[in-house]
């Protein structure tokens, strides 16, 4: 971006450049499937989808807790389920040597997946 296109900016250009780089250069969050890494690439793709669904389930569960319609017993069971899901997910990430950042795929103009 040329400097004459910046109409208002209170910080330094270096800071701006860093912010833009952070937004556009998220290499870890790209899916790079090649013949050599088909296994790990597929694991990343599958775990990304599983993590997305797990987070959606967690959000929905929190809405139900917030709604105040669950009994203490139901909340306990929900807590146990969500906790075990998170632990299992951590295990899988460790097994495939993936981090949270790896699973947050960058969708280009749409931003990050999660």
């Amino acid at each position: 971006m040329s400097e004459n296109k910046i109409l208002f900016n209170t910080g330094s250009l270096d800071e701006l450049s860093q912010e833009v780089t952070n937004l556009t250069n998220n290499e870890d969050s790209k899916l790079k499937l090649t013949p050599d890494n088909a296994d790990s690439g597929l694991a990343k793709l599958v775990l990304t989808l599983v993590e997305l669904i797990r987070k959606l389930v967690e959000k929905q569960a929190m809405r139900r807790v917030d709604g105040g319609l669950l009994t203490e017993e139901e909340i306990e069971r929900l807590g146990e389920t969500l906790m075990k899901l998170e632990m299992k997910m951590e295990e899988l990430k460790k097994h495939f040597n993936l981090t949270d950042r790896d699973l947050n795929i960058n969708l280009g103009p749409l931003g990050d997946l999660m």
Binding site: I6, L7, F8, T10, N22, A61, M62, D66, G79, L82
Partner: protein, 249 residues
């Protein structure tokens, strides 16, 4: 070698039909190739001949391509076309133009005498979260009993995180409302994206009349004064990249 035609932009030539060819002789396309226009009535496409295999998805080519669109936008109302858009022949381009003429005209009318401006709002969302947390700790404290199990504790922790997320989004919505209210006087079309990243909490684009640039800067300046904890960056004027809404038939 099969040659194709790469399209840069769709222009309205109704006000200055003779000017386009003169302008095109003075500018070059990506990698120095010559540009020419293909017209149907009052709409023209600025194009160049290219071997499909030579189109490189590379940053410097995309910047050169954007530079051409920028130069054209200074003198014509136009719809920018995505880098790498190619068609097989002049004939297919003319047919496409004829099929989509009304829709293209409508879009050209929408962006006539207007430029796009981008506003990015950056902040440390963790800092905002901490502020919200301090302010609302007691309000969102979930029910506690003296003998909480680890599962109940886990739910409580997740519930707090969930409420903080909700409050953060509500805070961002408040800022967006403030921006739209203040900028409404400039009568823009706008689009907002929230929480693009943990630091880029708002990414907005405005379509404004060309002579409203200074007013827009003033609005952003006032907003920055109101929110010293945020960092606002206004860019432009740009061709209307985010305001073209055509499904090519």
């Amino acid at each position: 070698m099969v040659m194709s035609i790469m399209i840069y932009a769709i222009l309205s030539t109704k006000k200055n039909p003779g000017k386009l060819n003169a302008l095109l002789t003075g500018i070059k396309g990506v990698s120095g190739v010559g540009l020419y226009a293909i017209s149907v009535d009052k709409i023209a496409l600025v194009v160049c001949d290219i071997n499909k295999a030579d189109i490189i998805a590379d940053k410097s080519c995309a910047i050169e391509y954007a530079g051409v669109i920028e130069t054209l936008a200074q003198q014509f109302t136009l719809l920018p076309v995505r880098y790498g858009s190619v068609m097989e022949s002049t004939e297919t381009i003319k047919k496409m133009l004829e099929r989509n003429y009304a829709e293209i005209q409508q879009n050209l009318l929408k962006v006539e005498n207007k430029f796009e401006f981008g506003l990015k709002v950056f902040c440390d969302s963790q800092k905002i979260k901490d502020e919200i947390k301090t302010e609302t700790e007691s309000i969102i404290e979930p029910e506690q009993s003296s003998e909480n199990s680890i599962y109940r504790e886990y739910i409580n922790k997740k519930f707090k995180e969930h409420k903080f997320e909700e409050l953060l989004l509500a805070h961002v919505d408040e800022i967006i409302l403030d921006i739209t209210t203040r900028i409404a006087q400039l009568n823009p079309t706008h689009k907002f994206k929230k929480m693009v990243s943990p630091t880029n909490i708002i990414d907005a684009v405005f379509l404004l009349e060309k002579d409203k640039k200074k007013d827009c800067i003033n609005v952003v300046n006032n907003l920055q004064n109101k929110y010293p904890g945020l960092r606002l960056i206004l860019t432009g004027p740009w061709p209307p990249y985010n305001f073209v809404d055509i499904t090519i038939k």
